[in-house]
Symmetry: C2
Amino acid sequence: MVFWKSLFSSSDATAASKTTPFEGDPVEGMGVNRTNSESRIFFSTERDIDLYELEELCDAVGWSRRPLRKVKKAMQYSFLVVSMWEVVGAKRRIIGFARATSDHAFNATIWDVVVHPDFQSQGLGKAMMKYMVKKLRSEDISNITLFADPHVVDFYGRLGFIADPEGIKGMFWYPD
Amino acid sequence: MVFWKSLFSSSDATAASKTTPFEGDPVEGMGVNRTNSESRIFFSTERDIDLYELEELCDAVGWSRRPLRKVKKAMQYSFLVVSMWEVVGAKRRIIGFARATSDHAFNATIWDVVVHPDFQSQGLGKAMMKYMVKKLRSEDISNITLFADPHVVDFYGRLGFIADPEGIKGMFWYPD
């Protein structure tokens, strides 16, 4: 577990580390001057995320609400959970999220990618996905897949994802 | 654990159940008269499959070999593993396989679907996939997905899978 103290100067850290354990990777060049000099953006792979805060993030992009019991289970059984945080002083706010299922050997599939509207179009979604791909690759996963809505196909394309390579089709089951 | 005895008449069962524990669901109307009156086809969700037998099955359809260490891990961390067996007397042979990753809550993705060439074009692949979908649905998974090679898109289409619904694209990551 990495505490806030690893992310801040010693004086800030002393106060913050007493209250909130936080494992985070700073995003280089991101967020530093966003609102003021104290704002920073971090990624985390901790999956102990407040489900109400996560729901608020998903609400902000207009997703249908899902039972928190199932969201909790999905987080528990995901192979990788990535979240993105804006940290100002001792306060933090979740501003992005994504997770991946996997067989822990060959394949991973990325689901539920969301960036808060206030933080879109600044390269943060791209940075979060790059972070995610890097984490999956570091776990020796060779086949990273996702299902992209039409309006984000180009976004993922710029990250190196190919739609329908060699004619492979993404398919969804529906009852007869 | 269900033993052979549940699958056969009492006399066969007594001998077989001493040697091989086997959890299987008989495939109605399949295999009964395939080679002779003793041949039966069964499905199983047991994941303790001999990896060399599985490799032989995958060899038969021309798949590239994969490290057995990773195959074992993938089986372990799959949400569902389905195998299909031909049983003649006390002998059984694996003739089909498929597995699914999942978050145990919303999504499942089906991988590595294979039917031995000797048993293709007889409705067995279709029966195996229906069995798989039924199992996933019984676990309250609502979103069942897969990535289909071009030559099997119609096969999955007949099972109720839709390619690119609402323009959603299956995408694969490749290094820049």
